[in-house]
Amino acid sequence: MSDVTIIGAGIHRFGRTPGRTGLQQGAFAVRDALASAGLEWKDVQFAYGGSDAAGNADTMVSELGLTGLQFINVANGCATGGSAMFGAYVTIKSGEYDLGLAVGFDKHPPGAFDPKPADWGLPDWYGETGLMLTTQFFAMKIQRYMALHGISTGTLAAVAEKAFANGALADHAWRRQPLSAQEVLSSPMVSDPLTKYMFCSPAEGAVALIFASERKARELGLPAVKLRAAAVRTRPPGSFEVFSPALDVERGPSPTTLAARAAFEMAGVGPEDIDIAQLQDTESGAEIMHMAENGFCADGDQEQWIAEGRTRREGALPVNTDGGCLACGEPIGASGLRQVYENYQQLTGRAGRRQIEGAPRLGYSHVYGAPGVSAVAILER
């Protein structure tokens, strides 16, 4: 069994890039990652890659070089990037190979997603009668959470304000304009209680990460960040998920709770040890709920945490230090890997203007998506 490290990371900026396909953005991120480690494409022994809506990852070999490497395409919805990383993680851990990469990319048209009921095992009437919207799910999940745990609308706005402040400092972010909490609150209501600027938007972008065994990283003389844990989990009974025509009365934990527990156990650390966290923020409320689901605080504590600025850049646990999905947008295949990219940049001191002070050592990332899947990774410098 080999220890797994990340030795390089690359990104194609998020947002909209007319004239460049999702696949081309993916290849761009791979070249950027290789350059960051001083490696060449021919050094790569294997790759896992995927997109949700922008094509087959393995066709990028025509652009990168026909080296004959093992390239496995991953299609796992919102967890595509997380699953690609898990593939790379176990491949190196098992000793099968000692240097490979994970790449995720996407290119979505503007506007909300338009899912087909049959793809989700649902009858047509569910979509036809106007119930099949991810935005409704997120709104109803936070609506109930706010009522049960005393979270205010002002706290939702504060999360978005922080995201845009952080995004303004990140070169790869899409929305680089700071917005005040008041501007967030007074933007048009999309799905009560969530306004336009509390939601992220489908977007474009790509991320690639290079993984190596600890031995290989030493051989190459490259600084390495350890991947201490990578866990992907699906929903348990009683969880509240997108596209659910009904819920069981007996409520249960979420896929995030399961993935977080597994990752902390794998890494042998607890939530209190984490220095920075990238948490799925499809909308402001998701970041708030995910703080508790991942174990960083108790339900309801977020109101005080956020009032005290504990998740801001200078706080005790900076959350979504590059502005998260709110500022970067959500290209599904790339989004989970962007979080790991951000942790890698922060832990190696390469985050530029958005660098968190105090030399963070442990970085936590969490991606969540339909139909109830979460992926968590813990990095250690």
Binding site: A112, D114, W125, A139, K141, R144, L247
Partner: protein, 135 residues
């Protein structure tokens, strides 16, 4: 008569009252909604007609078509999860209620809602409306 969205899911009793149906898994005892396809494993079961609002939102923009079948003209509508007497929590359109009166815990009762379709037809779906005290 206006067609129902699904005649296994929604029917009318002898008094003309709507009945919303789920299905009970014979093995696990779990109640599911919408009713699963006809299968020996499941028995259709009428769901309680009354419940309380479990969570809610207002759909403020016109959903994309497909899958949405409504006309281009759009008016915001309320959506919620309704806890049906602790049997199951069902997602539904809410009707006959001002958005400002939506609140978790308010009593609701089953009703129907006729929805126009972009293709000119109309379809009847299930919905929930406020229940008066003692009703």
């Amino acid at each position: 008569m206006t067609p129902l969205i699904d005649d296994r899911l929604l029917r009318f009793d002898d008094e003309g009252q709507p009945v919303l149906q789920g299905a009970r898994d014979r093995v696990s005892g779990r109640l599911v909604f919408p009713p699963a396809a006809e299968d020996e494993r499941y028995t259709l079961e009428a769901l309680p007609r009354r419940g309380t609002l479990w969570s809610w939102t207002v759909q403020r923009f016109r959903p994309k078509s497909p899958p949405y079948a409504g006309p281009d003209a759009f008016a915001p509508y309320a959506v919620g999860y309704v806890d049906l007497d602790n049997a199951i929590i069902v997602e539904a359109r809410l009707t006959g209620v001002a958005f400002t009166d939506l609140k978790i815990g308010v009593p609701l009762k089953l009703t129907t809602l006729a929805l126009e379709r972009a293709d000119g037809g109309t379809v009847v779906t299930y919905a929930f409306a406020p229940a008066e005290q003692g009703e």
